[in-house]
């Protein structure tokens, strides 16, 4: 974790320093209280250790002053922390009105991002640096939660209701996105990246409809799509079995389906598997592959097929 501290990860949003300051304030106050308690405990433990089995100490008179002080001092401390935390919370939740808007759809187990011009990406979101960005999120199945540690933002993503987070990235770099609401088998694989671009680069990226892959050889483009479209959340390329069957050795192999029929995995079969995953369900696997890949264009499909063909 570059430039993070022992406790907190790197700071890369405008709000991160403020939240970190509060974190460290609470941490230090806690540390002082904790050390005080433990030091007193250890000191008494040593000083008043039992030397003789017949010891019968005289009761200590209770001091009102001390008792009041250990009520009042913590109360003041928590009130400070409360007000401070409250202000930060409001800032975290109220997006500036001019924020750049991106639509986010979460589903088991991938993130899909849609930009105002209709470009969509899966598994990575591109944003401009130095400009507030607001993500309007909803889920297609269960609860998920969008979390970027470097930005210190997090919000649950609900089915049947829009929620949003906003942030303003301070530096062009790539940051990790986690899903932090438990959502089933591949909860821990429901990752994405925030790719922060300088403003001009971002505009260029956006205008090219999400990067220029036209020149790229098909298998290479397929490898990118494999990551980007989150196929990797369910399909491995090393032979290990995940939610879905591995791609290794898939091409050309004979497949058995839940209904007992079989087929050879050729181009057409793979095409169908991507576009209509429910058409034939591979034996031993649940039919949970999302049906949403219908929006892939021909070139993308060919790229994926070429990529799968390579995995022998």
């Amino acid at each position: 974790m570059n430039n993070g501290s022992a406790w907190l990860p790197e700071q890369a949003s405008t709000l991160a320093p403020e939240i970190d300051a509060l974190f460290y304030f609470v941490k230090w106050v806690s540390l002082v209280i904790f050390v005080g308690v433990v030091a007193a405990m250890l000191y008494f433990m040593f000083k008043y250790r039992r030397r003789d089995a017949a010891e019968r100490p005289v009761p200590v008179k209770e001091s009102k002053l001390i008792e009041i002080s250990w009520v009042v001092v913590p109360t003041i401390l928590v009130l400070i922390v409360f007000v401070w935390g409250f202000q930060g919370f409001i800032k975290l939740n109220v997006a500036p009105p001019e924020a750049y808007q991106i639509t986010v759809r979460a589903k088991k187990w991938l993130w899909e991002f849609e930009y105002p011009n209709g470009t969509t990406t899966v598994g990575e979101v591109h944003v401009p640096v130095g400009r507030p960005v607001r993500l309007n999120m909803s889920s297609e199945d269960v609860l998920h939660s969008f979390f970027v540690p470097a930005f210190r933002v997090k919000h649950d993503v609900l089915p049947n209701r829009y929620t949003s987070v906003w942030f303003e990235a301070t530096r062009a770099d790539t940051f990790q996105v986690f899903c932090t609401e438990y959502c089933g088998t591949q909860h821990s694989g429901m990752l994405a990246k925030v790719i922060v671009h300088p403003e001009a680069e971002f505009r260029e990226w956006l205008n090219s409809g999400g990067g220029n892959f036209d020149e790229m050889p098909l298998p290479e483009y397929g490898a990118i799509l494999y990551q980007q479209q989150s196929c990797n959340a369910c399909h491995s390329i090393d032979g290990s079995s995940g939610v879905g069957p591995t791609f290794q050795g898939l091409y050309g192999a004979e497949r058995r389906f839940a209904d007992g029929s079989t087929a050879v995995a050729d181009d057409n079969y793979i095409r169908e598997s991507i576009l209509q995953p429910q058409a034939r369900i591979v034996e031993g696997y649940p039919g949970v592959m999302p049906a949403s890949y219908g929006s892939l264009n021909e070139r993308q499909l060919s790229a994926l097929i070429a990529f799968i063909q390579q995995q022998q």
Binding site: W7, P9, I19, L22, F23, V26, S30, F34, V37, V38, A40, M41, M45, Y48, R51, A53, A54, E55, R56, P57, V58, E67, W70, V71, P74, T75, V78, L79, F82, W84, F86, Q87, G88, F89, K91, L92, N93, L143, F147, P149, R152, K154, H155, D156, P159, N160, R161, T163, Q176, T180, E181, Y182, C183, G184, T185, H187, S188, G189, G242, V243
Partner: protein, 574 residues
């Protein structure tokens, strides 16, 4: 008949209790059908030890899987079921019943000077109801998989595997057991106190159980109805919680936490009670701020109902409620602080005896303070946005639950072990185990606090390589912790067969179960209903503890125990 019973019992008491609740009837049936609160406590102790063992082994599996990124020993589905089962068993089947059911049942009536709890048959019923709940949990595992996490959030739980039905039923039923215990204790405390046992003289363990019982009675029905509604949501699709039918998943979270936050106080309040007993007894000092400690338990119990939404700061609930919940969350820190400070102050000018139970009490102080202060950290609105559902929260709650409640339970178990079994455990082994547990625990869970603030999300089967180092520390710590706990299990079992015979009052404690009872106690606890003339921790008035033949215990035969210590272990108060 009654005359013979009396005749054999009374002299036996003088010879170190050969006639007692354990051996007055040894048939298996006499155990299974017993309504004696002491025996029920012992049955709970065995059952819960098994549950803890199983749930703890599941935790070790979780830790082993997390030793390295990717698949280590199991696949993602197996992992998700493992941590779910670990959470459910630990919370609903182990920690919620633990202290009240084991030590509360055993000690509470004796500390009050009563012969039994108010409703002994209900007490036994609650044990069997608990067993039914446990059986249902096991059937949930056999008939399918439950991988919802212990929180059962909808809609994941309302359209997942069908075994969720068993699990919700299990929790519904285990809830009844908890309610019955709570009702029983409240009535016992109100109505069954011995003459002279005023509210101001109650041992603080009793106060802790009293506050706990209030929470049990008020909160548990809500988990019942929540589980029932979830069940109906699953079976019929009533559309209250399921967004696909127009329901509101956040409403489910309100329902769940309305119980489950107070439930964390069901877990910790009795632990507070035990710590008060231990610190006072082993400091031989009147507890500092008795009233403050007693009433702060009740305050925490009440305030605990007003903060449930602090688990939902990023769930989409309104900001108005987030603010209210956050504010009240901090307020709970204050009565908790009062307790911590009073405990430390009790040690001041005391006579501190570092036996194993006291070491657990000090460990508790250390770990609970960390756990509580990290609780304050996650209660800070803005900071919790970052920390929510990360390992920071996992660290927090293990510090309070394992470092708090389980440490107190272990302390209490060691403290009352001589009373329950009539045997002394091995002190040296005890101290070694405390050290292992203390070191192992901090390695396991402090590293999780750092992991979490670095951003590591919880309920993750796999993680990015940057987190590997700290996960390995945590896993190794958990092995040390497990070694410590297995050592405890081993020497406690050993002591039951080979341990030295316990005197009636090995610690020189001043509450009734020590001063007026043999070890182990008579089936009816006391030969005469005791007359209480001083507070529970008034060592300066407790002549019977120090051997003087005076006070209300005179002629009871069960008192003046210290001088009976034949094994030289407790050459205590002379």
């Amino acid at each position: 008949m009654s005359a013979t019973a009396k005749a054999t019992a009374a002299p036996a008491a003088h010879q170190g209790a050969s006639y007692n609740y354990l051996n007055h009837d040894k048939s298996v049936w006499s155990w299974l059908s017993t309504v004696d609160h002491k025996r029920i406590g012992v049955m709970y102790a065995f059952t819960l030890a098994i549950v803890f063992l199983v749930a703890g082994v599941l935790a070790i599996l979780v830790r082993t899987e997390l030793y390295a990124p990717g698949e280590t020993i199991m696949g993602p589905d197996a992992y998700n079921q493992t941590f779910t089962l670990h959470g459910i068993m630990m919370v609903f089947l182990f920690l919620v019943p633990s202290i009240p059911a084991i030590l509360g049942n055993f000690v509470l009536p004796i500390q009050l000077g009563a012969k039994d709890v108010a409703f002994p048959r209900l007490n036994l019923a609650s044990y069997y109801i608990y067993l039914i709940g446990g059986v249902l949990v096991v059937s949930a595992i056999i008939f399918g998989q439950v991988d919802t996490g212990w929180t059962f959030y909808t809609p994941y739980s309302s359209d997942g595997g069908s075994a969720v039905i068993f699990m919700t039923l299990a929790i519904f039923i285990a809830g009844f057991s908890s309610i019955l215990t709570g009702i029983n204790f409240i009535v016992t405390i109100h109505k069954m106190r011995a003459p002279g046992m005023t509210w101001n003289r109650l041992p603080l363990f009793v106060w802790g159980l009293y506050a706990t019982s209030i929470v049990q009675v008020l909160a548990t029905p809500v988990i019942g109805i929540t589980m029932l509604l979830l069940l109906l949501e699953r079976v019929l699709g009533i559309g209250i919680f399921d967004p696909a039918l127009g329901g509101d998943p956040i409403l489910f979270q309100h329902f769940f936490w309305f119980y489950s936050h107070p439930a964390v106080y069901i877990m910790i309040l009795p632990a507070f009670g035990i710590i008060s007993e231990l610190i006072a007894t082993f400091s031989r000092q009147r507890i500092y701020g008795y009233k403050a400690i007693a009433l702060s338990s009740v305050a925490i119990a009440m305030l605990g109902f007003l903060v449930w939404g602090h688990h939902m700061f990023v769930s989409g609930q309104s900001a108005v409620s987030a603010v209210i919940f956050s504010l009240i969350t901090y307020l709970i820190g204050i009565p908790s602080g009062i307790k911590v400070f009073n405990w430390v102050a009790t040690m001041y000018k005391g006579s501190i005896w570092l036996q194993t139970p006291m070491l657990y009490a000090l460990t508790f102080l250390f770990l609970f303070t960390i756990g509580g202060l990290t609780g304050i950290m996650v209660g800070v609105l803005a900071v919790d946005v970052h920390l929510h559902d990360t390992y920071y929260v996992v660290g927090h709650f293990h510090y309070v639950m394992m470092g708090g409640t389980v440490m107190a339970l272990l302390g209490g178990l060691h403290y009352w072990w001589p009373k329950m079994t009539g045997k002394m455990y091995n002190e040296t082994a005890g101290k070694i185990a405390v050290a292992l547990i203390f070191i192992g625990f901090n390695l396991t869970f402090f590293s999780q606090l750092i992991l979490g603030s670095q951003g590591m999300p919880r309920r993750y089967y796999d993680y990015i390589p940057a987190y590997t180092g700290l996960h390995q520390v945590s896993t190794i710590g958990s092995y040390i912790l497990a070694a410590g706990l297995f050592l405890v299990l081993f020497y406690l079992l050993w002591s039951m067969f080979k341990g030295a015979r316990a005197p009636a009052n090995p610690w020189g404690a001043a509450t009734l179960e020590w001063t007026h009872c043999t070890s182990p106690p008579d089936p009816h606890n006391f030969h005469h209903t005791p007359l209480v003339t001083r507070g529970a921790y008034d060592f300066h008035l407790a002549d019977e503890v120090f051997g003087a033949q005076s006070g209300d215990g005179a002629g009871d035969g069960a008192h003046a125990p210290a001088r009976l210590a034949g094994d030289g272990r407790v050459a205590e108060p002379q």
